[in-house]
Symmetry: C4
Subunit: 210 residues, 4 copies
């Protein structure tokens, strides 16, 4: 199964290229389909009334658009560090895409039952995508040898960040809608991450120089 | 967040390339989905009757197709001037795409309630896309340093044109359907722009030569 | 509007490349959406019954898939002959795509009212796509100077073939379902075309050598 | 029809590239549309109830996602061996894509009537895709001369594997849901294939060296 993929360096590059294009297409379709189930209300009177009737759907659309956007950026950054692809990477990437393609359904769930019940399922789906991308990166960096040379500490940090951050932030956003002090926690985390990013980058450069 | 994007010139080029392909996919899906909610009437008798029953939907389709087409051309022209991408450009581009992906919904709004109520909302959405592209260009040219060297006057002119023209023209088109002398205003504006384009180009060349 | 496109040879190449990718995406979405409105019947008993109930829809799907496929091949062949793109080509290409994106709707029309009424509209839509591609080619070859050097006779032949053949063949196919001797006419035309293709190619080579 | 495709080596390469991108787009759209007809139940109470009500649909989604994924990998591997394209390859590839684009419909069939009736049709559709890819490869390798030089035994093995394996495995999976010892058969087949793959690779190398 992997005899053609692992043998030639160039084949791996072409494989990687086609995998990236395919993933981008799935991300693009999923993000555009987020709005496909939103229809205008049967009757409305004035812009205020229209937005009052469609508000929940438009909010759910905006949130899911941001989620797909953030994961597209994560996916782009992870794949920027890869140098080749193989069959296992294909399968792990399909796992990521299968979860991303469920987001239009998750968004529908969110706006149909905006009591507390749909929220944990939606946040769980968002968190699962992060874990799947982290799995893909962990395989590529630690097992498959598909990534460009990366210091171990940095590779681990990248993995943990993509696995935990988006799901946690998504949950925290919903939490902050009820308890506004959650936004302060989020700002503190983002500032802390900025400092941590710099610290890990310096550490990696030091390790690379050694 | 931007440590990998800003450091390497080449990384920025690959990033830009992937961003363009992703945007094209979203534009292509949004433009094709414009027709997806149009269904044949339950009963019709002869071509004349069919077009009488579907006329409003087909007009709305044609207008929205033209809107997405014009913005695709704007997007292409703006990105032709860019030399690199970064995380902020990603986010601003997602804002553009999120509004473009709402056009199928806006089109449905247009044909369901073709009284005066849906029109300003539709024109507002069209105008908002122009403003979002202008924001992206303003960031790339004036703040992010992502554009090829462009004289300041030209950069400002490009920004204002993409921000104001499409929304204004879209509104003027609907206006002209009621007051036909609006078409003459539109022709005058297009002629004036052609002259202005040439004038700005000459100005830029002069500035570049100086 | 066209100052940036016409000036640089390289810019025209990149423009052409992005236009082709965008068109391919629209073709791909339209061809995949052909099946999206086909749903299983509410109740069915055995494979024979299922196919009896879905037969018309599956036939309409197969025909439209073939139509989009044939036009994708025409589009690919026409664009293989182009060397640059400009704003007018963009607009003409959007006209082609706007008609292609209507094919899912045309297909629905075909299966809902399979009396004689929907047929001429469907064949008319198919023929209109051919005419639009021919317009695009005529502009590129005779007016815009965007095509690679092509002998005039060959350019004219390409134009007429893409304008007339697909629509005529589509109409003839439906005709042949009722009058089976139509298939013989179609075979004769295809054989004649094969001979004509060779004759035009020889003519062009002679003209090029002169 | 094929005068331009067969003559120039480079034209064949560009043709092949565009064909691959187009196919990827169709695969990506089909795989993302698998979830588009899944909607949340009208009422549900707790996560357990939600999954109980949506379980069949989510299983059908997962199976079809795996099917499209496996065929995308087959398609990628087959096309990695090709060096050029022509009109016949286009047509055979459209046959593959037409069947792939029917999978969202097949998936719907699977979850609506999960008695024994829909299963053979679904497995038949999956098997037909494998046969279509095998046809494409057989044409490219044995008739069209479009593949890179491949020993005849290896080419035949590739053809049989892609024609028979996915459909058989899909049928066996459903069988194993009822008779669990089917999973053991599947594991044995996969192990046997791994040994066979190695054996064919050694045979090909020996033939190439001779």
């Amino acid at each position: 199964m992997s005899d053609r993929d692992s043998g030639k360096g160039d084949g791996g590059g072409a494989h990687l290229h086609r995998l990236v294009l395919f993933s981008d297409a799935v991300f693009a379709i999923a993000i555009t389909l987020l709005a496909i189930e939103i229809h205008p209300p049967h009757a409305w009177n004035g812009i205020g009334d229209l937005f009052a009737k469609m508000g929940v759907k438009l909010w759910a659309y905006a949130i899911s658009f941001a989620v797909v956007g953030i994961y597209w950026m994560s996916h782009r950054r992870i794949f920027e560090r890869l140098r080749a692809a193989n069959g296992v990477l294909d399968v792990l990437n399909f796992l990521v895409l299968a979860l991303v393609a469920l987001l239009p359904l998750g968004t529908e769930l969110l706006w149909e039952q905006h009591g507390g019940q749909a929220l944990p399922i939606y946040v769980g789906l968002v968190a699962a995508i992060g874990v799947a991308i982290a799995l893909l990166w962990a395989y590529a960096a630690f097992i498959g040898g598909l990534a460009e040379p990366t210091p171990k500490a940095e590779a681990l940090y990248v993995m943990l960040r993509v696995a935990l951050l988006p799901g946690f932030m998504c949950g925290l956003s919903f939490f902050s809608l009820v308890y506004p002090w959650g936004w302060a926690v989020m700002a503190a985390i983002l500032l802390g991450l900025r400092w941590l990013n710099g610290w890990v980058a310096r550490l990696s450069r030091a390790e690379a120089a050694a």
